[in-house]
Amino acid sequence: MDFMQISKKDFQKFVENLIQSKEEVVGVVKKGKHFAYDILEKSEQLCLDYTETILPPKKYFLPVEETLLKYKTGVASSYEATYGKSPKVIIGIHPGDMAAIALLDKSFSEGEKDSHYLNKRANSTLIGIYPTQSFPHRFSNSMIEKDAYKAADCFLVDLGNDYGIEVVTEKGKKIASAMKAVAGEKGLNEKIAQAKAKIKDEVSMPFSRRELSEFLHNKETHAEWKKRAEKCFSCGSCVLVCPTCYCFDVKDTVALSLQEGERKRMWDGCMLEKFANVAGNHNFRKLAGDRLKHRIFRKGKYIIDKFGMAGCVGCGRCSQACVANIASPVDIVQELKK
């Protein structure tokens, strides 16, 4: 990994030039009192000093709704695959979200390769940034280890007047040279390490991710699931804001002429009541407690066991989004520990 450096002013100039070059550039912007990823129209909109965005950046690779196939209604020979576009550059991804993209990369390329996701992913350069503000629900440090570096092309680290840059990939090298970043002075990597450690997580998982997987073993019948679920709305908010969730529903929609249509996939969530329904209205996860347990096991056990990567990246969005205030994985694990 190379360490480089750029002044904040020059970085903004680079972003402005990128926008002017007609490439689609996405970055973190203010949204009311919150933050969101959006297409940048001018560089001033970019806000890298943020707590957390409402939705994670996965929406650019696994859109909320995405057309997979087009067809003429009823004509099986007319099926045709369609591939959406993704931004050229995404700026400002926190390490947790970056680790989540690494997990999505793994899931969509393992076994049957999902070209709809992978095409978009290959098109984008990802510029991360280490958090400059604390977020009360974040516990990424205890979850993600080095996973963020499996997806990031480069990471920015706020050094006051400058950004330190960790250059991770060839794409990262290219973009660092495009922004005219300079090779780091002596001691830059120490300065970067110090700056990265400056913002501490306010909560933390009491286990490493491997320990968590082992801890959850045999916790399936714990009374906490049922008890906690008494307050659950099954509204799906916790999974819809989650950067590592990639479940989807598939639906056909046709034009008003009925002559042509599209097969689309859209985000879905295992916390919603009907998610595990099969024919005959039999539901394999009928109780909210079973669904809550499934979510935590998926985040804390199944994914790490299967892929060796974090199933929960500790971004804290679920805790923030849960109106009933029961979604926090840290709180749940603390209760299970008692």
Partner: protein, 247 residues
């Protein structure tokens, strides 16, 4: 043969039918798919039988029940159309109070005249069998179009059974609870694309609730926002979400 479609209204503001009349370009697509045979708001025709009937409004008088039953007999598919029809809607607030009091309040000296007679409000399915529900106050045009397309293709229409929070999250709205407001989104039925929360206005559950709403949890959440019992009941009352108000 295009299916014969009719619209009828009972106690309502006819705002849901207006949504159809206002479809503009898409109305041409709709009439290409279906044969509109009865729709008082836009045309004068009548027909003896219908393939698909949309009923707007709630049922508030005994003679309306008879009229509705007659329409049902002549309809292959009957769809409750809009909040008044699907849940009783705002009209059901009346059922919370004594009927005589309500009549006096509205009609004053004339309250006892026979043509102003009124009965407790009923949703359409409290009087006749309903095949499908198009919820909302008013209905959502896109949902209407998707139901028309589904029926024209012989598909069972997909009516959302998940809460408004889903659509709100997908639009990446700021959660109103994070802005110090209240919202029935966690228990309210979706299908509206979260239009009210998207405009910073709390959801009032005009589409009724999801099939298994966690009302206790909703009470608890609202109580934590320092709402009084009266205020909580009010939150639940607008569209007959309160179990004491709905059937």
């Amino acid at each position: 043969m295009k299916p014969k479609v009719a619209f009828f209204d009972f106690a309502c503001c006819e705002g849901c039918q207006l949504q159809i009349a206002n479809l503009e370009e898409e109305i041409l697509g709709v009439v290409a798919l279906v044969d509109l045979v009865e729709f008082r708001e836009v045309l004068t025709g009548h027909a003896p039988e219908y393939d698909i009937t949309f009923i707007e409004g709630s049922i508030t008088r005994p003679e309306d029940e008879e009229r509705l039953k007659d329409i049902r007999k002549r309809s292959k598919i009957l769809i409750a159309f809009g909040a008044c029809a699907t849940t009783g809607g705002v009209n059901k607030i009346k059922n919370l109070r004594n009927l005589e009091t309500v009549r006096k309040e509205v009609y004053q000296d004339d309250w006892n005249k026979p043509h102003l007679n009124t009965a407790p409000t009923k949703a359409v399915d409290e009087v006749v069998k309903v095949d499908y529900y198009l919820h909302g106050c008013p209905i959502n045009r896109n949902e209407f179009l998707s139901v028309v397309k589904d029926l024209a293709m012989g598909k069972v229409p997909r009516i959302p059974d998940y809460p408004v929070c889903v659509e709100c999250k997908l639009r990446e709205n700021e959660c109103l609870y994070d802005l110090g407001k209240t919202c029935l989104g966690p228990i309210a039925r979706a299908g509206c694309a979260a239009i009210c929360p998207s405009n910073k206005s709390g959801c009032e559950a005009c589409r009724g609730t999801v099939p298994n709403p966690n009302k206790n949890a909703m009470h608890e959440v609202l109580a934590k926002r320092n709402l009084t019992v009266e205020a909580i009941i009010q939150e639940f009352t607008m569209f007959a979400v309160n179990p004491e108000v709905s059937k």
